[in-house]
Subunit: 552 residues, 2 copies
Amino acid sequence: MLSDVEIAQAHTPEPIADIARRAGVPDEALIPYGSTKAKVDITKLDWSGKDGKLVLVTGVSPTPAGEGKSTTLIGLTDALTQLGQRAVVALREPSQGPVMGIKGGAAGGGYSQVVPMEDINLHFTGDFHAIAAANNTLAAIVDNHLQQGNTLDIDPRRITWQRCLDVNDRALRGVVTGLGGKAHDVPRETGFTITAASEIMAILGLATSLEDLKARLGAITVGYTYAGKPVTADDLNAAGALTALMKDALNPNLVQTLGGSPAFVHGGPFANIAHGCNTLLATRTAMKLGDIVLTEAGFGSDLGAEKFFDVKARFGDLDVAGAVVVTTIRSTKYNGGVARADLGTEDVDALRAGVANLERHVENVRKFGVTPVVCVNLFTGDTEAEREFMRDWASDFGVALAESEVWAKGGDGATELAELLLDNFSEGTSKQLYSTEGGVRESIETIAMEIYRADRVEYSVKALKDLADIETNGWGDMPVCISKTQYSFSDDPAQLGAPTGHVLHVRELLPRTGAGFIVVLTGDVMTMPGLPKKPSSENIDVDANGKISGLF
Amino acid sequence: MLSDVEIAQAHTPEPIADIARRAGVPDEALIPYGSTKAKVDITKLDWSGKDGKLVLVTGVSPTPAGEGKSTTLIGLTDALTQLGQRAVVALREPSQGPVMGIKGGAAGGGYSQVVPMEDINLHFTGDFHAIAAANNTLAAIVDNHLQQGNTLDIDPRRITWQRCLDVNDRALRGVVTGLGGKAHDVPRETGFTITAASEIMAILGLATSLEDLKARLGAITVGYTYAGKPVTADDLNAAGALTALMKDALNPNLVQTLGGSPAFVHGGPFANIAHGCNTLLATRTAMKLGDIVLTEAGFGSDLGAEKFFDVKARFGDLDVAGAVVVTTIRSTKYNGGVARADLGTEDVDALRAGVANLERHVENVRKFGVTPVVCVNLFTGDTEAEREFMRDWASDFGVALAESEVWAKGGDGATELAELLLDNFSEGTSKQLYSTEGGVRESIETIAMEIYRADRVEYSVKALKDLADIETNGWGDMPVCISKTQYSFSDDPAQLGAPTGHVLHVRELLPRTGAGFIVVLTGDVMTMPGLPKKPSSENIDVDANGKISGLF
């Protein structure tokens, strides 16, 4: 069997200028990066005219079995293109750090990939590096302010702004900086996150224009004064320079699928510490160009999809016309209690138990005013009895279901799904789950009850203090971005399936005043991954002609 | 008076594809980055055929008055183009960190600039970010090795590999990493350099092909075992992944001058901790395309030029056909003892005293087998008597001299200089100052006596230990890269002019086994700058159309 990189390298992509022209990008708006990648200059696009229909692709609670959500997204786009639709896909940029850590790409797989996959996984058009440059320039400005007299009276113990790098480097989680004496700044304890977890990544994801980008960058809270007053990037006169560092990154990246559909791959915020969607500008650009735009959100309906509707669609005033919930027979069995090693064995009873997880994700999507269809992404070894069970369940539950084989067949493997999707559009019905007028606490509790099906929410002493500070600082009307394990609807990763009667434990709240949301921590959240015992970087190589091998 | 950025923005550049075609770059080798920047794919160039003549532009010992070496380099190239020569310029990429710190561009000035200057100064084609990614991936791999059992027995106290960022951030000079407990790596003291000071920048500068790049990356020494044995990137199986991260960065960047000459802007190693020249591949590419190639080296003949000949030209087997020593009347007076505030006052006696500095730089260039011409870069306020003194001096000293006005007039301001250069070429005469066969100590002493005119060299106890270790580890045949103040021929920055009878103090030696040279420290060397009280980042802004202001 060919690897992903081998399949991608065997394919001859169309010139990106041809893809762009066919998609309707004006020549003067196209900024090529080589012959297969480009950025689209948002200041040179025609923003008048009708928007295409937007479709969200989400999934069940992720399992170690893998659901193939991105692969389905890409294959489904190619299926729609084959049916004569002007379909465009928008998805997140992969983070380079994990590429060096654990095998597994983030640009689809098999015959449903976006290409050039090596470039997309390594540097791409430099967006992550631009974010790190802006992030770390701001950090240097903060520490320099301490060193140069600290006229703003910043408390070094309360600087919340961390540095970042797109590297899996656990040694940078906790660091002391400023060592070496008086000439070398003020010693203090701090840390690095991975670039995808930087607030500037979230800002890139939500900005609607260069001016909006600058306003959001200026509104970043970097820490607090000794008196407890927030200090922003604007207080440090940093917003102009940060915007200069970010201005090219703001333009969406255009590539293509293996089936020749236009693909915007732009922005990659984490779905735990941030909202986990590609950029709003990529989605909007795609909607100006395509008749149907398919996009994704990280993890299941409880995380990425909830934030997609309540954060991204709220800020971007997006109408969502359809949705797909991706599942597999293997992951349904896993959610029904089958051990990972036994997932290859036929087990209809386990499906019967595990389908409760899928049901709840379908119900959750409906709460946002959208009619989802279910996609069963087939794997080798799925049996006829298991497939029949899923079809029967869908019929009983009252949801449209199609099977797909996108990894092996590309767009040809999603024709039925594409037709089903076309039959299930609605317009003008999508909505947010909560109004922000009730305040942060009410927003948390609405999500906990409605989406997670918790009985109640418990707050730590620290969380209650944070809630009070948020009110004092005037941030109470921001939407929330709950950081919770992706493996369970509850905050306990071991509670698979569809748990009820649980309690959501809120530990801490982190205001992200630039992004414009409040992060709500319900457990340990990892913002800087580490490398495994044998990093996948050890497999990567380059030949004398620049051809990369060993990348997935 | 218009600022540099205003002059650059008022200019309409030619499409880079046209510049490339005129320069003889095959279409299939051109990788556009937008319409005004490109990379040239070295694997798709025709490397057969004749080389153009190579000219090194160097200068006197730098002074606070500024000599305009890069500006002269660019203006001279345009003057040669105007004279009908196929002239190409190769110069270093600016570092982004200092752009945010102290006003002052690194892409020429006035009407002798390379454009697009905003892009060149910010991110450009991402080379610096690729270096930081490779550098920091290697750092993560080293720390991960400690965490995962340390089978190589690396001594955490003797890890020499530091992390890097292209930010002026003094707080990162000294850090402790790995805090937080057992799950978060091994605590140890380390630091960050600015990206330009990373050994990987030096490697990019000297690599001759992708294979050579991989070999050099693998040969990096990251630290030592408890038994004192060097540990390399190859020992950690890192070279393939690092090469994958660096493969695009290895391709030279093509832009243009305001006069429409092709300009390769590629690589930016520091001239103290490294060799201070643009990449060997950029120089070689320019030589395949142009009849005359002009290039620069950092600081004066004692630093950049010496390393240009003894490191870059040695590794690259380059023949140098001509050289220009750039000076100004103001900097000659400064070297003659005039205070900075008084440089505007006519002072022929000070010129008479200060010209000794210029004489020595001319003599130094001749020691490498090349016949230099002197360029007096005119400033407003230079008087006729002062200019006459310089012309008379040149006639007496026996060196060709021309005045230039490149800042104000572009190529028109260097016609006489260009003609003089064309009259002074020699071929096949350039050479290195020393053979490496005599060992590191002999190389240091040859440079100290011949170029710095020191009486002798004194070694610290640490330096003697380092010399012994270098022999033990088999690195004794590497050329040296002496890190010395740029302000004086001696290691004391206060000794201006042409000091003699001084002693060179060698404090420490740093093997750079990937780059292939030994760094010799003779004083404090700053590898991570800081920001000033009011960083120039505070002036930078972007309008709604993406136009940058306040950048120089």
